[in-house]
């Protein structure tokens, strides 16, 4: 059925507000990031100097701080992928197998994820504080006074401490998704395997893991995208310090923009970072498909 022009027009009116908002606040900035990345510009003056790919070249070859920040983000992400998700899987598996009233755990474990990064950072700031922090207080009262330190200010522990806070805040996400995945597995599969005399570990490896591959991939992608772009938690705890010890790409971009007024350069950084993130998720998806086929 061919629609009249009038119908097409009134139909499109429904989508007009969304299209307008989207064009102004998503499409235009998207284009602008790419455009600005080719310029040297402080964001204020009218003088914009076209520099081609010089910003990109400088970031990739000469900007040590950028690479440190990227490495830090990778490091936190690696810990989140392994420690945090392993913990989430272990807890999900325990709740799925053993406990009937699993809902209460589901509710409690998802409390940290609903809190803001700022609040979480400020609370943990105080737990990790060097002079009167709760952790040091607990260590001292257990006779481990020699272990005390300013956890977030000591270059040796700052990154681990931030990663710990991040994992505390994030494991509930993985837990909930993994648990839902586990509960989708038909119980009969487990029962028939057990009748055949398969042990716990065998059942886990031969039935649970293969069926969970798509869920693992999803959780991994969410973990990578969420952790690599960590910002609020850093700002409210270390601010990137001490030195560059907890700098991440997002804090670098904000510092370049607000601190040194190098907007074009920050945009180039954003393009590089965005492409790397996209590559990560594509690789992850490929890997998932490949594993799924086996």
């Amino acid at each position: 059925m061919k629609l009249s022009f009038r119908d097409q027009f009134t139909n499109s009116l429904f989508a007009l507000p969304a299209a307008l908002l989207f064009a102004v606040f998503s499409i235009y900035p998207f284009y602008k990031v790419f455009q600005l990345s080719l310029y040297q510009w402080d964001g204020i003056s009218t003088a914009m100097r076209f520099v081609g790919f010089a910003n990109f070249w400088d970031i990739l070859t000469r900007n040590a701080a950028w690479w440190i920040s990227f490495k830090n983000a990778i490091y936190i992400t690696f810990l989140a992928l392994t420690v945090q998700n392993a913990l989430a899987l272990l807890l999900a598996w325990a709740v799925d197998r053993e406990i009937r009233a699993g809902n209460i755990y589901r509710v409690i474990f998802f409390i940290p994820p609903i809190l803001s990064g700022i609040v979480v950072g400020l609370i943990w700031n105080w737990i990790f504080e060097g002079n009167y922090g709760l952790l040091n207080h607990a260590l001292t009262s257990m006779g481990l006074g020699g272990w005390t330190r300013a956890w977030l200010a000591d270059p040796k522990t700052a990154l681990y401490s931030v990663a710990t806070i991040h994992m505390w805040k994030g494991f509930g996400w993985g837990f909930i998704i993994l648990l839902a995945g586990l509960q989708n597995i038909p119980r009969e599969l487990y029962e028939s395997a057990r009748v055949d005399g398969a042990g716990e570990w065998h059942v886990f490896r031969k039935i649970t893991v293969p069926l969970m591959v798509p869920v693992f991939v999803l959780v991994s992608i969410l973990t990578i995208l969420g952790t690599m772009q960590i910002f609020d938690l850093i700002i409210s705890t270390t601010g990137g310090g001490p030195g560059y010890n907890t700098e991440v790409p997002m804090t670098r971009m904000v510092a370049l923009m607000l601190g040194s007024g190098r907007l074009g350069y920050a945009c180039a950084m954003s393009v590089i970072f965005g492409i790397l993130l996209l590559l990560f998720s594509l690789v992850q998806m490929r890997l998932g498909k490949w594993l799924d086929k086996d």
């Binding site: 629609l3 097409q8 027009f9 139909n11 499109s12 429904f14 989508a15 507000p17 969304a18 299209a19 908002l21 989207f22 102004v24 606040f25 998503s26 235009y28 900035p29 998207f30 990031v33 600005l36 964001g43 807890l91 325990a94 053993e98 755990y105 409690i108 474990f109 998802f110 409390i111 609903i114 809190l115 803001s116 700022i118 609040v119 979480v120 400020l122 609370i123 009167y132 909930i176 998704i177 648990l179 839902a180 995945g181 869920v215 995208l225 772009q229 910002f231 609020d232 700002i235 409210s236 971009m253 607000l258 907007l263 945009c267 954003s270 393009v271 970072f273 965005g274 993130l277 996209l278």
Partner: protein, 283 residues
């Protein structure tokens, strides 16, 4: 009862005790920092570092009043409430209209628009905030409420359209046809028939938008420098960055910022958790 069976029962029960023990320990770790924050809000600047008790002997409830007035958290709170309300209303209205159109009302460019929206959910542009800031400067929207609300409405559009379109697609068309026969125009059909049916999806969208806006920080940091316009997250950072941080008041301010979100969560947890799992497993 023979020995082997007894052994099995014992080992099973001890294992389940261990499992419960771990789960309870993790649960405590999730809740304790919040309890600590709340308790600390009831101490004084002098005792807060030395008094490690969980139940303070003389709780200073006035800290909450002080944070509310002197700490300006009352203003931050109402700002957060205002931003959240406006964004939720905006997102629900604009994305439901667009979702309804992309499900039911064909027009040229409909598919492209929908695909572009989806693409923004997939393609990360971590530095979009830079260009967004430049844009807001151009539009004279820096340090205005509108400049903080509009980008956030846009930020939730993709999710909203996606969520509601999937929902509308599954609705049977008979009811809408009947309404049309009765003489309703498109807008009336949408408003009186489709929208009320989409309540479950709308609830999920409203909750996730609320969480996102209430917890937002980066945009607030870039756009708002006037203290009277700041939402809670930005207010907290400004307060803790002050020359001498009043820790009990900071903790009181944090508690004020957390209470609404925890209350909403406890009331709506079923929707939140099922929303996440349904969304996740569909992908």
């Amino acid at each position: 009862m023979d020995v082997a069976r007894l052994k099995r029962v014992l080992s099973k029960s001890s294992r389940s005790t261990l499992v419960h023990g771990v789960l309870i320990l993790v649960s405590i770790s999730c809740v304790f920092p919040l309890v600590w924050m709340f308790v600390s809000a009831l101490k004084t600047q002098e005792t807060i570092f030395s008094n490690m008790s969980l139940i303070p002997a003389s709780p200073h409830w006035e800290n909450f009043a002080l944070a509310w007035t002197k700490g300006k958290f009352g203003i931050f709170f109402f700002n957060s409430l205002f931003y959240t309300f406006c964004t939720v209303v905006g997102v629900l209205l604009i994305s439901s209209l667009a979702a309804y159109a992309s499900s039911r009302l064909p027009f040229p460019g409909r598919k492209i628009l929908f695909m572009l929206l989806l693409a923004t959910m997939m393609i990360p542009v971590p530095g979009a905030f830079i260009a967004l800031y430049v844009l807001l400067v151009k539009l004279n929207l820096v340090n205005t409420r509108l400049g903080y609300i509009l980008p956030q409405i846009n930020g939730q559009l993709a999710l909203g359209v996606f969520l509601l379109k999937t929902f509308f697609d599954k609705l049977p068309r008979e009811l809408e046809d009947a309404a049309r026969v009765d003489g309703c125009n498109k807008l009336q059909v949408y408003y009186h028939v489709a929208l009320p049916l989409a309540k479950p999806a709308i609830a999920v969208l409203a909750i996730f938008t609320t969480l996102a806006v209430w917890n937002e920080y980066l945009l607030a940091m870039l756009v708002l420098s006037d203290r009277n316009l700041m939402p809670l997250q930005r207010g907290l950072m400004v307060f803790q960055g002050a020359h001498i941080t009043q820790y009990p008041l900071l903790m009181a301010g944090m508690t004020i910022s957390v209470i609404p979100i925890v209350v909403i969560y406890i009331i709506m947890q079923r929707h939140i958790i099922s929303g996440i799992t349904a969304g996740a497993l569909k992908m």
